[in-house]
Symmetry: C2
Subunit: 208 residues, 2 copies
């Protein structure tokens, strides 16, 4: 694969994989592009384009082989030796993310969670070891963590982002309701709880 | 205001308001466009354009009056009589959102949360009344709720979306990791926990 894959394609591949896994669990072995399109709320042409872009095409008679397609997506999305994630901020949101990920993504695991609350550190929460924030640099290097999740209050989110960057993390997912500054070579995905609800509220208001 | 305000502007106004409130809490009364730009990681020209679009301009000498600007944004974003939100799925993520919103947005309140677990219904959780999912239509009409949040497992998210739409909700925010189908006139904002982490992982993998 010489061409870089566009970010929107990555998002759709992540989605297709989840839909394919659901189909597999439901006992299906093959799926047609139009079925995957309906499940993913996309057009069949888009599904075919995306899968062609990763070098996969189905049979016209039987559709795509689900297991082979999942494997193909795995090669694109996953690191063969797995990737390790840290989380900073063990509140309700942090726990929700921990319990979602635990055991569900063998190649993508949250291996350390940080907080400053003495009641929350040096424990195992939802299967994840927890540490005091002051140990972040040491643990991230020791555990070879490359991805950082921020689920802290807004007031300390930038400070945590700086610690992650200093520790060598390459990608951040920020759930704190505040924009963050990171160096050019660090990927930052912002997920703002408040903004999403305020947007919905604005549309609901104008729809009365 | 005759022109509809673009969705990206709405997102930025939501952000500016949070930043302005933080400034106000820190004891500031005025702010310059370049200061707001730095806080919001935008360009000063963009900030000025956005605020001009809502009919507000600052003084060159003193910048924007923070309280007046918050009030101006309030008129655009908020409903004068307030808007009422429901949530379906009272897990960790639901609790995180509830505890964030409670008391913090006087014009935007989560007034009902639904679940099917007998231990979670007919109670008050983080200040919010909880009900069995079977009462959704009745409560949404009675409480005049127009916005629905989905924090349920993926398997039941479409069913919950259908219930919300049937009950008359006009905007949905979906945190379940599955795409949903809603009628054209219902606003849908998707917030997928898994996809955001998988995107970050893809970037971290290609950065080694």
């Amino acid at each position: 694969m010489k061409q870089p894959i566009p970010i929107r394609t990555i998002e759709r591949l992540s989605l297709y994989r989840r839909l394919l896994n659901m189909q597999l669990e439901a006992g299906k072995l093959n799926v047609f592009s139009h079925e995957l399109a309906i499940l993913g709320k996309r057009t069949p042409a888009q599904v075919r384009r995306d899968l062609m872009a990763i070098g996969y095409s189905g049979s016209t008679r039987k559709g795509y082989d689900i297991e082979k397609l999942i494997e193909k997506i795995r090669i694109i999305l996953d690191d063969p030796i797995g990737q390790r994630i840290a989380m900073a901020g063990i509140g309700n949101l942090g726990r929700a993310i921990l319990s979602y990920f635990m055991g569900r993504r063998p190649k993508l695991s949250i291996v350390a969670a940080f907080d400053v609350d003495p009641d929350k550190v040096d424990r195992v929460i939802s299967g994840c070891r927890t540490y005091h924030l002051s140990k972040m640099e040491e643990i991230i290097s020791q555990e070879e963590i490359t991805i950082g999740i921020i689920t802290s209050p807004a007031a300390v989110a930038q400070e945590i982002a700086d610690l992650y960057v200093k520790a060598g993390v390459k990608a951040l997912v920020n759930w704190a309701p505040i924009p963050l500054e990171v160096p050019e070579d660090v990927f930052l995905e912002n997920r703002d709880i408040v903004m999403s609800v305020e947007k919905a509220a604005f549309f609901a208001k104008n729809h009365k």
